[in-house]
Symmetry: C2
Subunit: 590 residues, 2 copies
């Protein structure tokens, strides 16, 4: 069975040494009750739960998968008990407001517990994740009565939540959805239509499932401006708030997927189901986006979790596996062969994955802090943080999942042929992670969002503010080689931003042609910034743990950052080499 040890020391280093969380919390009145000692207990609790309860269910969950019979979905053996324990320990509500039974922890804490669960059992994680997302949308847009009806039950884990957006012909382009909502005499709505790819659309973990459904009222404007949001409970509530009769909504089938097989991905049929509008008609998409911004950071963390557990298993395998001899002379003469950790190429794969993981963890924490600022800070800080979150969310989702996928692939390769065999678990990490690049808006869509709404639309203003912060930090740095690297990266990103902003005026095809490469250039520059912070924090300390942080930063700068220049070159080549082909060219197969 694959191993997993929550990387608590690395997490504490990021939280305390790099981000000086205690000082931040003290300076933020709404978070002043939190301290690193409390947080440490939370981290240790989740480490134990992940390692002891969730890890053992990961492969059995994959082998067994979620099942549907007569319209009833069941989760794999052990999931029900694990979810009950998870809910009873208060994990669903970790980041929720205390008013609704939550623990009121900031994102800077849940970003770390989420990583652990995603390492241990990503399919499991998706169930509470959707509950939390639904809770968040309700918390922002629902009426007081609706909040009272649903939020305590969701955060206690007694009920679960979903988000029902996609239809078979409407994914990225939600404006063309067909699900209809017709108002009933009592003010509720009758919802009719079919949704696909609904994570946790049905299951046996909770007594009720609260679906948040996007649909169109009969006279709604065309396109995405005519979408409304509805609460559609699996079981309608009695007047006392208890679970009543079954609503006309159910899972028609579950998808057969490449991975996350223990997560029930459902086709949901709404057959005049009773729904209750959230907020006003035609304003449903805004509420969904609140939820999706949080989900998108979560998908980045899903990537990190997979890459971390993949790394750990590959590092352990490389240490244990004896094969061949070191090129610099036999290292273990008493054994039939040296450990494969003596081979530079094996180390290269491990270090590349590890260097990504540590930068990703730092970047996730950075974005989490910005999210916390949007929630808990004064107005000036909040406005700046809103801008920063808007800018970095697509990067956190797409760059982290892309680089994490590379990490899982490299880690699988360390195992040689055993990496392809299911019992070793490495191939499951690859399969399970792959979805994180695709769902919640594909990484291509994230890149389009970044270069469109977040960069060219505001003339590069958000980027300029971010770069100013990076340069301000660099100006304080003591470590010259890292300072030079981060400043050079910032210059490159600035030049690229100017380039894409200018080109967008001239040719509307240019931004999307540059999008994915720009997002990766942005991500690499952000990692350089993260390593700048890591290096400054680590160089103030003594000991091998900190010395290794510096060496890993140097590995990043010399062996991973050169990709930035290649991305820049590609962006500069423009869109003509892409758009010049006739449509028919692509399908002229014979």
């Amino acid at each position: 069975m694959p191993i997993y040890t929550a990387p608590l020391q690395d997490m504490r280093f990021i939280l305390n040494d790099v981000f000086k969380a205690d000082a931040f919390w003290q300076a933020t009145p709404e978070l002043a009750h939190i301290d690193s000692e409390t947080v440490n207990q939370i981290l240790e609790g989740m480490a134990k739960f992940s390692q002891d309860v969730l890890v053992p269910l990961n492969r059995t969950g994959d082998e067994e998968g979620a099942k549907i019979e007569n319209g009833v979905v069941t989760t794999p053996k052990g999931f029900k008990e694990a979810f009950k324990a998870y809910a009873n320990d208060g994990w669903v509500g970790l980041g929720a407001d205390e008013e609704w039974g939550g623990q009121g922890m900031p994102k800077m804490v849940s970003v770390m517990t989420d990583e652990m669960i995603f390492s241990a059992n990503p399919a499991f994680m998706l169930y509470p994740l959707l509950s939390v997302g639904a809770g968040m949308a309700l918390n922002s847009y629902a009426s007081q009565e609706q909040k009272e009806q649903y939020l305590p039950k969701i955060y206690s884990g007694e009920w679960a939540g979903t988000m029902c957006l996609t239809e078979s012909h409407a994914g990225t382009d939600l404006g063309i959805m067909k699900t209809k909502a017709v108002q009933n005499a009592d003010g509720s709505y009758a919802i009719t239509g079919n949704k696909i790819f609904i994570t946790g659309g049905d299951h046996d973990l909770a007594e009720n499932i609260i679906h948040l459904v996007l649909a169109k009222t009969p006279d709604a404007p065309a396109g995405s401006r005519g979408i409304s949001l509805f609460i559609v409970p699996k079981f309608l509530l009695n007047t006392d708030g208890s679970v009543g009769e079954r609503n006309h909504v159910g899972a028609g089938s579950i998808e057969h997927k490449m991975g996350i097989k223990a997560s029930a991905t459902c086709v949901m049929n709404f057959d005049g189901a009773k729904g209750f509008i959230v907020g006003k008609e035609n304003e449903g998409l805004a509420a969904m986006f609140i939820m999706m911004n949080y989900e998108r950071l979560s998908m980045g963390i899903q990537g990190l979790g997979a890459s971390e557990v993949s790394y750990q298993n590959a590092a352990q395998y490389a240490t244990d596996r004896l094969q061949g001899r070191s090129a610099t002379g036999v290292k273990s003469p008493e054994k039939p062969a040296d450990s494969i950790l003596v081979h530079p190429d094996v180390r290269r794969m491990l270090l590349k994955t590890k260097a990504h993981n540590e930068a990703a963890r730092c970047f996730a924490m950075y974005v989490a802090q910005q999210l916390d600022m949007t929630k808990f800070s004064d107005d000036t800080t909040k406005a700046k943080a809103d801008e920063r979150v808007a800018l970095l969310t697509p990067v956190a989702k797409a760059f982290l999942t892309d680089k994490s996928f590379d990490g899982c692939i490299d880690a699988q390769m360390v195992f040689g042929g055993h990496g392809y065999i299911r019992e070793w678990g490495m191939e499951q990490f690859v399969r399970d992670l792959r979805i994180a690049q695709i769902y919640e808006g594909t990484n291509g869509i994230q890149a389009a969002d970044l270069i469109g709404r977040k960069v060219t639309k505001n003339g590069g203003k958000f980027v300029a503010t971010y770069l100013a912060e990076i340069r301000e930090f660099a100006a304080t740095m003591q470590t010259d080689w890292m300072k030079a690297a981060v400043l050079k990266s910032a210059d490159t990103l600035e030049a690229l931003t100017t380039h894409v902003v200018e080109r967008a005026q001239v040719n509307a095809s240019e931004p999307n042609a540059a999008a994915v490469d720009y997002l990766h250039a942005f991500g690499l520059t952000s990692y350089a910034y993260m390593y700048a912070m890591i290096v400054e924090a680590a160089s103030k300390k003594e000991g091998a743990f900190y010395k290794n942080k510096l060496d890993l930063a140097r590995f990043f700068v010399t062996r991973m950052l050169p990709e930035l220049d290649a991305r820049a070159k590609i962006i500069e080549s423009g869109s003509d080499v892409i758009m010049g082909f006739d449509e028919g060219y692509f399908t002229a197969f014979a």
Copy 2:
């Protein structure tokens, strides 16, 4: 069901316009009986067989998988009939000598039919591939009597073959294998041991299976110089050559894998099985390597096949899928949305995959021609070709499979969420291809072989000859931008080669630290050479088909070749940033 159309026009372009195959065959006495008309019929025959018979069995084969019950392995429904038809039509022996019932076709032909089968059904392809490999080793090293006993039956498809190398503790490092061969009184050997990862170790497609087994005799020298090769038939032969009693060899289990599930990957138990030595004691590895050189090109073609079929399905999906509107104005006002082919980023993914496929097809043909020269040419040409094949084989295996994996990943992404759903088939292409980066020597091992035995060991001499050929070709070129690109690439590869040869003298860790990046730099330079040839051939012709070749070459040069400089930069960073970490660092997880 996924679509597939054999890319015959592209294949003929490579064969006839780029490589002028007819002229080459005419100039080579042993191949003078071949002409492009005959070859065309072969290609059309395999196109039909692949499309009609093999494609429909690909997904059902994945869903059903190979099965074992009471030590008996069965292939999925339809495989038996398909293999019988395949064998009856003479495909197993397509490239085999006519003396043994083969059709005597050169590799330049089978490289194209192999691509089709790998596109249509890679798991199926592995059965005859192993037969052909076993046949090749026997043809080179076995006695006349052994050849007569086994080769006609193997090439007719009545019997199948395997190669039994790996043991659970001995993969890359075959020198520490434990399987024993003790000579019997009658001159045969008793083979005892366990082999793993044996492709087609048992199955129901053939009446007998001829295992080629590596084992050590009791007094063999330690390490890889003490390995001998044995024929171990599943059923021993009667004196008349017919199938007789069962030998003491059998499948203990079959592996549960990420993909190629219809291919039976067996754990094989040899329990004093009767084996017959091939060649002399302790010379087994050389015979295996004959076979492996051919297999390694085949793995590259497995990559190409997967990337081609992935591309075709993604291009078709992008054409059919309506979602969003073009940034340059609505393209299909009569439809609810434009096809996603209007989006530059979707085209980018398709073109990147296609540009790889066409370069890979050309490179595979180039290596195939060199292989044919090693077999059919005069001594001078043969010696040069031997050198070239040695140099390019690891590139053909590793670079083609790595880039093909990227192609499958991009193509899967074009499908959005549907790419993750099994019914669409895209995720199977990813899973099935993944093994090609791992088996027959991982791509890391290929890179080590390239930079070690093929580059630094001869001081870069093989590379110098290759670069001289590239520059000689470039000197004749008419198209300036392509000429400049290929010459610049050649200069970069030359500088890198000088660098790694020099550094290898100074520090034994340097070659392996540079290996994978060097292999990719080598591959990119080779692709630039292929595009140089393609551009010269296409620019002599009129019409959209040829014009598109030039445009695709330009896409490669501007949007894919920039990776070369990044690889160069990484190589120059050396091994110290990798080797400086203590061993314990890698597994300090907590």
